[in-house]
Symmetry: C2
Subunit: 385 residues, 2 copies
């Protein structure tokens, strides 16, 4: 693939060093930067805060996303731009694209993924089952929407929801007004979604290169609590070949429709052996952090490879028979010495200040069998406060 | 292990962040910093050059090692100090120790490893076979030394030799004067070493914690050309259990005698099923770079863990049956896209300017068998200019 096709200066070792700009400087930007450095790529993360933790491990550019004061300076220092935060303003991505700097994934992908109605419309158009859903911009529309999808249902803001924020479960018709009171003022409107009686939550992490090649990681099983991901395991237990193939078909469809470049995650519900679309994360994803230690190529490295126009790497396990897990460290950190004594455990500490509900790090766990994996994950969880 | 025993502020996640100072900011400092960041540890590398590549991935302090102008400033920003370059002046390490900042490994280890006579005396005192060797400070002494060790022999500077620099092979008595002319002016004197008709060169990478616990990586087989390491493979082929145990016994003896904390490499010659001491590298080592991708815990992570007083990690392969290799990228970089297409290959680019003979990066290779490993290494080597 030539420089023309990849759209950035050809990467050829020390002679053509590419500089990667990353919009967002949290833990995802930090881990992207660490992966980029292994490939010799210099990074600059743009964050709105001086103390963004990606700044410990590479260049940091501090500026506002909505009203940037130093966009030119940022763009002079990078050859290609990617995002680690899905709520970066689409207008900023479009402005960067207008100036001729490649943005990967592009503004279209972010625009769709930022809106729960647009992403579900996309899924529906690709034949991916979704929960029943109806958009609403007024209390009257919300009442109609709830009637249409049926009770119980989940009402969510169309935009800016994450980790369970911006959503309310509605069980009775009388609760709709209170729900509107809680969420209705949000710009962008609401969506009422039918309740999915799912057996479990799965996700698929997928990558697509500039040339359209794709890679799919083994399906991940996710356990949430309080709206926040707690534990992921992969390969998800008891997934039939048919379900795996369907998940890859769905992910491939989304990647293609969005002309996506980079890593993307799709969260899915498993219901009676079927997969139901939940949402898209247009970036590296918390449910793929285990790939750092357990995959032949991590999600971070494959994202960097994709956005630089490099060939994608093997998304299989680092060796046959490896089972992997990830335990999020939220709100407070366990004693590192105790974590490091657990067989197969790999500590990842984002060097953040502790704060209730904040993702401070994660522990990846490798094992030779599902049983051993769950035992080791149990040991890690036993250290959490 | 308490803070008292480890000598640094107890590491306890976000509440007690330790700052690691690294003397030297080349590729080893860079890879140490990357490993430290995964654990949430902030790093500051001290290098004599502004463009040191460790500066891309963490803090950089630029100052002279012989006559530091800003030692206080460096020490205020770190909690523990380690080295990535064995030729850091011992006087500097001693000064840092005097000021009460832990230096790991300590000045004793560097003092011994910097001097080919002291390190061989240590080996001999521990019962580790060495080549015949005699020190020489004058031409007359060198003539006597060469007679004593016999011809052919290798004459080396006692200090500051690396990658084949500072050594001359002497095959005839008449060559001694020319050898003295080439090397005799070196401060620190010379050493004449008996020629070892070795079958192959092996190395063992070993780690020792603050509490004396040790870890040993599988033996590595090394191939040099032009005095520079080209290819390492591990586990070394056809190593008997007895040879493996002897290598670990030797390494354990050296670690203990030096009260060593951190990772150390010992280069060995294999001669008729016996191991003969060659030299110590008191740091993470080029022949251990494959551990980044193939080991449960890399040499870089274990070095960081050791110097911070954390428990050491498993030095075994990431999964049973993994075979690992490393191909150095010297003088010029291959096309990254071609490297990345080779199954099992992991590219590590140090982001250095290309220069003849300079180590610019390496490719780690993983495989499921020795045969597959050698085939993949052959593919990587085929890309080198």
């Amino acid at each position: 693939m030539g420089a023309e096709q990849s759209g950035v200066r050809a990467y050829a070792g020390a002679m053509g060093r590419v500089r990667l700009g990353i919009l967002g400087g949290g833990q995802l930007g930090r881990m992207l930067a660490l992966a980029a450095h292994e490939l010799g790529v210099q990074t600059r993360c743009w964050d709105q805060r001086e103390d963004a933790v990606a700044g410990h491990v590479g260049g940091l550019h501090v500026d506002d996303f909505e009203r940037p004061a130093r966009l030119d300076a940022f763009l002079r220092g990078v050859d290609v731009v990617t995002t680690e935060w899905e709520n970066v303003p689409v207008a900023l991505l479009e402005e960067i694209e207008r100036r001729g700097v490649p943005v990967r994934p592009g503004s279209l992908a972010l625009r769709v993924a930022q809106d729960r109605v647009l992403e579900k419309n996309l899924a529906r158009s690709l034949g991916i089952p979704t929960p029943a859903f109806v958009a609403a911009r007024t209390l009257g529309e919300l009442e109609g929407a709830v009637r249409e999808v049926g009770l119980p249902c989940v009402v969510k803001t169309r935009r800016f929801g994450y980790d369970g924020k911006g959503q309310v479960v509605v069980r009775k018709a009388e609760e709709v007004a209170a729900c509107w009171g809680a969420l209705g003022a949000t710009a962008g409107g609401l969506i009422a979604e039918g309740f999915v009686p799912f057996a479990r939550e799965l996700s698929i992490i997928a990558a697509r290169g500039v040339d359209g090649q794709t890679r799919f990681y083994p399906l991940v099983c996710n356990e949430h609590a309080g709206g926040i991901l707690r534990v992921s395991t992969s390969p998800a237990e008891g997934v039939s070949e048919g379900v795996r193939a369907r998940a890859e078909e769905y992910a491939g469809g989304v990647l293609g429709a969005l002309e996506y470049v980079g890593v993307l995650a799709i969260e899915l519900f498993e219901v009676g052996g079927e997969l139901v679309f939940n949402e898209i994360a247009p970036r590296v994803h918390n449910s793929g952090h285990w790939t750092i230690d357990a995959s032949a190529t991590s999600q971070f490295e494959n994202h960097v490879r994709a956005v630089l126009g490099l060939p994608l790497g093997d998304a299989g396990m680092v060796a046959p028979g490896v089972h992997a897990g990830m335990v999020n460290l939220i709100g407070s950190m366990p004693d590192a010495r105790q974590v490091l004594r657990i067989a197969g455990a790999k500590l990842h500490d984002y060097a953040k200040e502790a704060r209730a509900g904040r993702k401070l790090g994660h522990v990846n766990v490798l094992a030779g069998s599902r049983g051993e994996l769950m035992e080791r994950i149990g040991q890690v969880r036993g250290l959490l406060r």
